[in-house]
Amino acid sequence: SLAGQMSETMRKLQGSDKLTEKNVESSVKEVRRALLDADVNLKVVNSLIKDVKARALGEKVLEGVKPGQQFIKIIYDELARIMGSEATPLARKDASAESPTVILLAGLQGAGKTTAAAKLALYCKSEAKPRRVLLCACDVYRPAAIEQLKTLGASIDTEVFAMGTDVEPERIAREAISYAKKNKFDTVIVDTAGRQVIDTKLMAELKRVKNSVTPDEILLVVDAMTGQEAANLTRAFNDAVGITGAILTKLDGDTRGGAALSVKQVSGRPIKFVGVGEKVEKLEPFYPERMASRILG
């Protein structure tokens, strides 16, 4: 129809029949602002926008959609894709395995590792085929860390293997595995002391713990409200010990959790769980699409 041809010509004249630098400019600004507000690392934001523009510009604008809206949808899809297409399960060796599945938790001070250890234990015990879980107290530095884990373990009727604070963590972990084998535990969750990557002694210790028990899972525990440093700390832990996944904690707060994107983007490893409260049942599997919309706000 003539009216249709007119509006088609108008669209071509306005340049709105393909995505162009100009017609997505204000959406780019909006997205950039939203991602930075969500604490996504500045470098990660810049490279994400650059990649998406490289692919999206020149694309045909969909019927009934404004170019800016389409660009935002492309960003959202890309975020969800980066986050992972679906929830990734926790490592679990076959029932016939000779030794238990070992899950090692690591991360910065106060991120929520000890709480996450207990939460994971409860999660494992509540699976369709319940696991027999042993918790292992390898934080020999923090005052009353062992007591904290023991109290949490008692609250979920789960045994905690500890050897006090005068034994090296790598030996505690090794003996926990032998204890687990003897007593038919199929999963051992190892809590460790908070540490920074620049602390060479503590990073060497973490490597020794890793080497002494060859974990099936090394999960980086990250506080969801971490700001720009999230990307660096992830890269550093990953370079030092190689993580297999992450747990993002304290998502019951209002923070948008852009650290999740930095963690995934930098390590290539999936976020497996999120902590959504202080209580031991407050652990949920990670849903990539939910996180993508939370980050975009």
Partner: protein
């Protein structure tokens, strides 16, 4: 020539990005940069000076003014005044979200006060988290100081009140009150904190925030103050008096949280935590902060 909006815009944008990269909250970086832009617009550019260095200088001054405390952050003089004139212990409450370093900072503050000859009592008013009381028991034993606690489950405001009573009885100079971590929008927990403050009328309320926090710093501080304002049923509710910024040793040079927190509350950074031992509590150096932000 004088500085025009057009000259300034790209330079201001660049500095805004620098500040965001240093972990200053986005809105705050924006406000600071805008106000610096307004302060230099129309000014004459000195010969041999670039627009960038003129803006950098103005930004350096603005940040220095923001981060320099308006009055002394030295708490010792105030403690002595209260002890001498009101003949009672000086009461300090620490508060903040989960895992930021409240209990550790409290222990470090105890060590600092003891080094200056003060007699201290620690009050275990985190009556909820697993191992919280044992954590303080360990510190109290190391510091050779009394710990007042009633274990777990008791109302924190009441435990604090009885701790201050005990502190008065035994004639301590300072009572340090530890509280449980809480998310700023958890209403029941924020009401409980407001109650502890209004019942006990502490001399200082120190918000403990970690240097790692991103944009949430702004919401944490404004929400804690709002809750203290709204939930205390008194005419002059006590609000946050100062900030303890922890984990300063874990952020490399991304010191921006200091700016976000001070800008949001107008209150100073009283101490910086630079590690996990009792010696790791410092006074903040404004010039060190500003230089880290602008390099």
């Amino acid at each position: 020539s004088s500085l025009s909006k057009e000259d300034l815009e790209p330079v201001l944008q660049q500095f805004k990005t620098t500040l965001i990269g240093k972990n200053v909250a986005q809105n705050i970086a924006e406000k600071i940069v805008q106000s610096v832009g307004a302060s230099v617009e129309g000014k004459r550019l000195e010969s041999m000076k670039s627009v960038k260095s003129a803006v950098r200088e103005a930004l350096h001054d603005a940040l220095t003014r923001l981060l320099t405390p308006k009055q002394s952050t030295e708490v010792l003089a105030d403690i002595e005044k209260v002890n001498a004139i009101e003949r009672r212990p000086f009461v300090i409450v620490v508060c903040g979200v989960n895992g930021v370093g409240k209990s550790t900072s409290l222990a470090k503050t105890c060590f600092y006060l003891q080094k200056h000859g003060k007699k201290v009592l620690i009050a275990a008013c985190d009556t909820f988290r697993a191992g919280a009381v044992e954590q303080l028991k360990t510190h109290a034993a190391c510091l050779n100081v009394e710990l007042y606690h009633q274990g777990y489950g008791k109302d924190a405001a009441t435990v604090a009140k009885e701790a201050v009573r005990r502190g008065t009885e035994i004639g301590v100079d300072v009572v340090l009150v530890d509280t449980a971590g809480r998310m700023q929008h958890n209403e029941p927990l924020m009401r409980a904190l407001a109650k502890l403050v209004s019942v006990n009328q502490p001399d200082r309320i120190f918000f403990v925030g970690e240097a790692l926090v991103g944009n949430d710093a702004v919401d944490q501080l404004s929400s804690f103050n709002k809750a203290l304002m709204d939930f205390q049923k008194v005419p002059n509710p006590r609000l946050i008096d100062g900030i303890i910024l922890t984990k300063f040793d874990t952020i490399d040079d991304k010191v921006g949280a200091a700016v976000s927190m001070v800008y949001t509350t107008g209150q100073p950074i009283v101490f910086v935590g630079v590690g996990q031992t009792y010696y790791d509590l410092r006074k903040v150096s404004t010039s060190v902060l500003v230089n880290a932000l602008l390099r």
